[in-house]
Symmetry: C2
Subunit: 337 residues, 2 copies
DNA sequence: TTGAAAGCGCTAACAT
DNA sequence: ATGTTAGCGCTTTCAA
């Protein structure tokens, strides 16, 4: 039960494999193969259910029609949604996605790039982490299309899709101040990436613009490696020790979820007296009583931009054409609830 | 800047490509290649950073070390979590995952199998839908490893990992009855698959065992194709028209989430007087006030079983050995909150 | 103990 | 307008 090959089709149609190959690749016209021959061969292909071996094709042509997707954790709703949209759009252009989660582990991330490279993926979509600069630069040096999103690596010239992180936290902080809040806490994660720093910057700038001095005491840094329970415990400790806090801005949605667990356990009422805003939206926030406001990242736009950038780079035929890197910054918006 | 090939290594080491190949594949010992040669070649490989071209290797050996994962929607938290765990475990065994979402579209699903086939994936992990029976049977006929999970197709002999759906809804319904509920509604989706039917069966059986006659009037079928808003609207209508309902069992977690939105909008207090249980857990249920009980599906167990089944089938060397299909049914448990 | 060479299935330059 | 054939990078049989 060996699968059919192009040879079998050629034999069945009494033509050479070249003819079959041309027809398969839509080059029949250009090669002026007769219409009746085309029809005949196509009929046989359909009847026998022949599908060309993509691996052989890849070896020959050098492209695999595969895009490698590297994110921190594919089960994170933000990445899962993006993955879904990217998959969908890539699929329509004949590309498949191979994904992998870095677990925020640099060694694993770099290993993934090498592994994808040995599998000859045509392009990379990466939510990068600090330390991957050199690896990405190597890819670019080989003229491999790379699009980076969600995070930005300073000094790395590559096509990038980001949301304006500082804008989001600026708006959120401003809104809290306008609600009369005086002691606005900022809960963030200890990952050293620009986006997280930017989120802090937006918070800080909004405070300063209103003449408030940022108070590091009510700025809480949560280790990325924490388990959910550890985070909840740390937050309980933090809010217990700082009862003057009258509003919180969480730098990520999963931290905000932990925060809500924490307030629940503390019997701390969220509401007008104690406002909470999360960065990145989540169904939970809409359902929570009272509603939790959130900074919304335009997921569909992000996916759209990412995929159209990568497809554009993938379609560049002229290898000598200088690729220009495109930076896309999307607005985040504050959803007041 | 052409990537290195095994030829370059052979040249650099002044040996034949055969020798390099044997060393690369750990067959050096068996071939009694001298230790110093091995060390020397390995050193060169490392120095030059050579990585064998996996595509060429695949063409030659016939296996791609790739597993195709087909689910309804990779962004659904249930599938996203499974995808993450499967990816992780597959990775440790040298396998990569290519995924695709069927969107519950039969044509797309069948197309995906064909596409994966042309990409020579070594095995398939599928959360199937009705109509795929023949395609899966074709794969099995070609002795391709397939593991099916989450859903079961009657009459299809294939390794399967399921949770005991009827057990979950039986336990949930029983618990509601024990809380004195008399009019227990069942909200489900109109997808014609065994698992969904089983969930209804568990509900029905629990009622009957307590001498209650199931009342179709308070059993609500929601179209799968509904948007979130449409579902919420239908639910509001349903609960408004049936005020006697004193408890609800939702057949899926996303329906339960819609239900919570609906109750919120209706200002209907969930609690002792109106109990809600969801099938499949979700962070939202833990955070909701009051807490929502849920039937928990052991995600990690599912992923474990799926991956160990597929790896076992993948490792079967003797093609003539009759494969035996293994059916794994995992218990679901009721988490009372 | 190592090397030469066939061949996996396909594409495309070249030949006819 | 269609056929012949080299070769993509690798594994593996067979020969030396």
């Amino acid at each position: 039960m060996k699968p059919l090959s192009i040879k079998d089709i050629a034999k069945a149609a009494n033509v050479s494999i070249t003819t079959v190959s041309f027809i398969l690749n839509g080059k029949a016209e250009k090669m002026r193969i007769s219409q009746e021959m085309i029809t005949k061969v196509e009929k046989i292909i359909k009847e026998l259910g022949f599908r060309p071996n993509q691996v052989a094709r890849s070896l020959r042509t050098g492209n695999t029609k595969t895009i490698g997707l590297i994110v921190e954790d594919i089960s994170n709703p933000f990445f899962a949604s993006i993955a879904r949209l990217i998959e969908d759009k890539a699929y329509r252009h004949g590309y498949k996605i191979i994904y992998s989660s870095t677990e925020n582990n640099l060694d694993k991330a770099r290993g993934l790039i090498r592994m994808f490279k040995s599998r000859q993926v045509d392009g990379y979509i990466i939510a990068p982490m600090t330390g991957m600069e050199e690896d990405i630069r190597d890819l670019l040096k080989d003229r491999t299309p790379v699009v980076v999103f969600d995070r930005h690596l300073p000094g790395l010239e590559v096509s990038t899709v980001l949301v304006d992180n500082s804008e989001g936290t600026y708006l959120a902080t401003q809104s809290l101040i306008e609600h009369g809040k005086k002691n606005i806490a900022f809960v963030t994660v200890d990952v050293e990436v620009e986006e997280i720093k930017d989120r802090y910057a937006g918070y800080e700038n909004a405070l300063k613009s209103k003449g408030i001095t940022p108070d590091t005491e009510i700025c809480k840094l949560i280790p990325f490696t924490n388990t959910a329970d550890e985070t909840t415990a740390e937050l309980i400790d933090f809010f217990t020790k700082n009862p003057r806090i009258d509003a919180v801005l969480f730098a990520t949605n999963y931290l905000a979820v932990r925060g809500l667990f924490c307030f629940k356990e503390m019997n701390k009422q969220v509401g007008e007296d104690f406002r909470v805003i999360a960065f990145d939206d989540h169904d939970i926030f809409k359902l929570h009583s009272p509603n939790i406001s959130a900074v919304y990242q335009p997921i569909e736009d992000i996916a759209d931009q990412v995929i159209s950038l990568i497809l554009k780079e993938l379609s560049v035929v002229d290898v000598f054409e200088e690729t220009e890197f495109k930076q896309v910054v999307l607005s985040s918006t504050l959803i007041e609830r």
